[in-house]
């Protein structure tokens, strides 16, 4: 590829942890130069946040995963001297992101108003937990808490289970991804008008948007989403939608016509149900399927289902997945060599441009590694 789409853009990332930095990672992979602005001494708190106690070059593997393909510039935002340098950097940047709680950037005189005075073309992206007003504004914007408060915990698991969170940081990831959308759309406008923009999003709004189908259905029916008693896959969907155990594993069965399913699986009990009952009688239908599917292997059932083009699939774990040709052909893994020569494997950007996968071997920066070079550039 000649040039990545965002080649030439400079992003200053004041963000920490996952939501803002995941936005920075996507912008970097699409070609932007992303400079993390970090606190001297400690930097992004994610450097010290490990999972499974995995560390690389003194920083957590988690930090390396989220912050590859970026530069690091340390500045103490409480020091007026350092702030003067930051203001110069802002003068030359295209995008700024932060995910501080409301009021923090303002306390450093780096709110949108002040920044826009320095650079009217800048696109200023801000992530918060719950927006800038209201009783929740100073609460921690933490993923599990947002899942719990937004109603999302009532979508996963079965009817009798406790509310159940997604086992991944969906609010962080989605909010970061939506910030990228807003920033890029603002850059499209800037090309026409020359003016920057303030792009704001909260993790709560992201999770509400995420549930737009459920919320719209709730507004029109007044009925809270109901998880099915067994094999819940999505509270809005009829039987058989869900995952079922077989003699040697599990299979997922998506939207399938009930009489057709009964015929193909050879279940006379199931054949007594019509497609019209697929939602109203879904617990009974799922119970019948649970007993029936438990009698044979995954391959046995999938062969029958696939021969009839029905929507079903085996359930894999990462071992079986990563050994599968369907995974390997995607080339989703890439090796990154850290600044001190250590090699690690991570995922690449999921977007392909002009048929090409976007790989970047550039590692996460060590704290402040680019200070000198960036100061030299500013003096030019």
């Amino acid at each position: 590829m000649n040039q990545l789409p965002l080649h030439g853009l400079t992003v200053l990332e004041f963000s920490q942890y996952l939501s803002g930095p995941s936005a920075g990672l996507r912008l970097a992979d699409l070609g932007a130069r992303v400079i993390k602005i970090e606190r001297p001494g400690t930097g992004d708190a994610c450097r010290r946040l490990s999972i499974k106690n995995l560390w690389v070059d003194g920083d957590s593997l988690l930090f390396h995963t989220i912050n590859r393909n970026k530069e690091s510039f340390t500045a103490d935002l409480k020091s007026s001297e350092d702030r003067a340098v930051i203001r110069k950097l802002i003068g030359r940047a295209d995008v700024l992101t932060h995910n501080f709680r409301p009021g923090v950037m303002e306390s450093f005189d780096l709110g949108y108003g002040s920044v826009a005075e320095l650079n009217s073309r800048i696109v200023y992206g801000a992530i918060s937990g719950y927006g800038k007003e209201g009783p929740w504004k100073d609460r921690p914007g933490q993923d599990l808490l947002l899942q719990s408060m937004s109603g999302l915990a009532y979508m996963t698991g079965n009817e009798k289970d406790n509310p159940m969170p997604f086992g991944l940081s969906i609010a962080d990831s989605l909010c970061g991804a939506q910030l990228v959308q807003g920033i890029l759309a603002a850059l499209v406008r800037r090309h026409k008008t020359g003016k920057g923009a303030l792009v704001e999003i909260s993790m709560m709004e992201s999770l509400l948007d995420f549930q737009f189908e459920f919320l719209t259905t709730y507004h029109s029916s007044g009925q809270l989403p109901q998880r099915s008693k067994l094999s819940n896959g999505n509270p809005l969907l009829s039987a058989p939608y869900g995952i079922y155990a077989t003699t040697d594993g599990h299979i997922a069965v998506a939207m399938v016509n009930i009489p057709q399913l009964a015929q193909i699986l050879g279940s006379e009990v199931l054949a007594e149900y019509s497609q019209e009952q697929a939602f109203s009688h879904r617990d009974e239908i799922k119970g019948i399927l649970t007993r029936h599917l438990a009698g044979q292997s995954s391959d046995y059932w999938l062969e029958k289902l696939h021969a009839n083009d029905l929507w079903a699939m085996e359930v894999l774990d990462w071992k079986t997945l990563t050994e599968h040709e369907g995974y390997q052909v995607l080339q989703m893994e890439q090796a990154v060599t850290t600044t001190r020569g250590k090699s690690l494997v991570t995922t690449r950007c999921p977007i392909r441009i002009n048929g090409e996968r976007l790989f970047s071997g550039k590692p996460a920066p060590s704290l402040g590694q680019d200070n000198e070079r960036i100061v030299m550039e500013l003096l030019k």
């Binding site: 969170p165 997604f166 989605l174 759309a185 792009v199 737009f212 259905t217 690690l344």
Partner: protein
């Protein structure tokens, strides 16, 4: 001016992944024209769920397709196809989520569309990419979740693989597609060049797992182990998870165990002074918490924990949530109207621009509602001589 004012999107996509990308572009100011098959249209119109329908169409269709226009065209009919080609020649973006090969057969693949319009941004979502053994398989949310390993992250250790109960793969794939399209539109502004942007649902769900997959790639490929109780994330120490109380449910994120022991007056937790044990012995800790938290209501616990800045929250369903001032102040609800007078409440675009909410009252279009308008505005009615 709206961010994407004057951007015209010709959207062939159906169901959720592609249309959710179109919705976001529409909310940021683009004009999105759905190209639909005469008679039936986007199959999502007929996707009845929960037995909740609005005027014979699924509520889901209305949620996904508000703020768009509909142009009915039979792509197998040469004169309709000619009109579509004329429309594409005047558009900025083409979007589709057909299986690999379908747009080639119609004659609207990227190479040919680029001939019609050298500045086009062409976005496509597939299930599993255009190669390999899965490429012909249906790109369906639950099935992609099942293949991707994602189902081993939610729920407790002894429970079966558990899908996330929202179409997370569709939504992320649509979100990433919109990112790629917007990046390509930015590039086009600089150099006038067209781009092909491709996202598969499988690549999207692998990206969603990037933190934990990277852990797996580098820890000798050990599979995730969910906690025995109150699993919130297989990789995060106790107390992370949701707990039942005497009344209501409480969620606890990352926290210091001895501090919790003191605040909750739970002496048996006080022995866990070594932070490494919060992961290694998380099942023991969670079991103690499970019994202890049952003794009082969620509100009583919150009254102790919140003032001490412990990361905790009450678990709410939609009914609880919508009574909260914190929810109301977001103004997340949006009332839209369709052209036949139907009014319904849905959610707005979550992004604020220059302090303003992006709100449009336009509901989902009727099938073919905008044929005449679009024929007229884009000069499609006139036969090519």
């Amino acid at each position: 001016m709206n961010l994407l004012q004057d951007i015209i999107v010709v959207d062939f996509s159906q169901f959720l992944s592609g249309p959710s990308a179109g919705l976001r572009l529409a909310d940021m100011g683009a004009r999105v024209i759905k190209i639909e098959r005469p008679g039936t249209g986007d199959i999502c119109r007929q996707l009845y769920v929960s037995d909740t329908r609005i005027e014979g169409e699924s509520t889901i269709f209305h949620a996904i397709n508000r703020n768009k226009q509909s142009y009915a065209a039979d792509l197998k009919d040469p004169s309709d196809l000619e009109k579509i080609k004329k429309l594409i020649a005047q558009a900025d973006v083409v979007l589709h989520n057909f299986r690999p090969g379908v747009m080639e057969r119609i004659g609207l693949d990227y190479a040919r569309v680029k001939e019609l319009n050298p500045g086009i941004v062409y976005g496509e979502v597939s299930g599993y990419g255009n190669e390999g053994p899965w490429k012909e398989l249906p790109g369906q949310d639950l099935l992609v979740q099942a293949l991707s390993g994602l189902t081993w992250l939610s729920n407790n250790r002894d429970e079966r693989p558990t899908p996330m109960g929202v179409s997370v793969v569709d939504i992320l794939a649509g979100t990433y597609l919109a990112q790629g399209i917007l990046a390509a539109l930015y590039r086009r502004g600089m150099d006038g060049q067209s781009s092909l942007v491709q996202v598969s649902m499988m690549e999207a769900v692998l990206d969603f797992q990037f933190e934990v997959l990277t852990c797996f790639y580098n820890d000798g490929r050990q599979l995730p182990v969910r906690s025995q109780l109150s699993n919130g994330n297989a990789y995060i120490p106790a107390p992370y998870g949701i707990y039942k109380t005497r009344e209501g449910y409480l969620s606890l994120a990352m926290g210091d165990i001895p501090k919790l022991a003191e605040l909750l007056q739970c002496p048996s937790l006080a022995v866990f002074t070594n932070a490494a044990e919060w992961y290694d012995r998380r099942d023991e800790i969670k079991e103690i918490l499970t019994w202890h938290l049952m003794t009082r209501s969620a509100d009583e616990w919150l009254a102790v924990l919140q003032p001490a800045d412990v990361w905790c929250a009450k678990v709410m369903d939609y009914q609880d949530l919508m009574q909260q001032v914190g929810y109301k102040v977001l103004n997340m609800e949006l009332r839209v109207k369709t052209s036949n007078g139907l009014s319904l409440k849905t959610t707005r675009c979550p992004i604020r621009i220059d302090g303003q909410l992006a709100v449009s009252e336009k509901g989902a279009p009727l099938l073919g509602e905008h044929n005449e308008l679009i024929d007229d505005q884009f000069g499609l009615g006139i036969a090519i001589s």
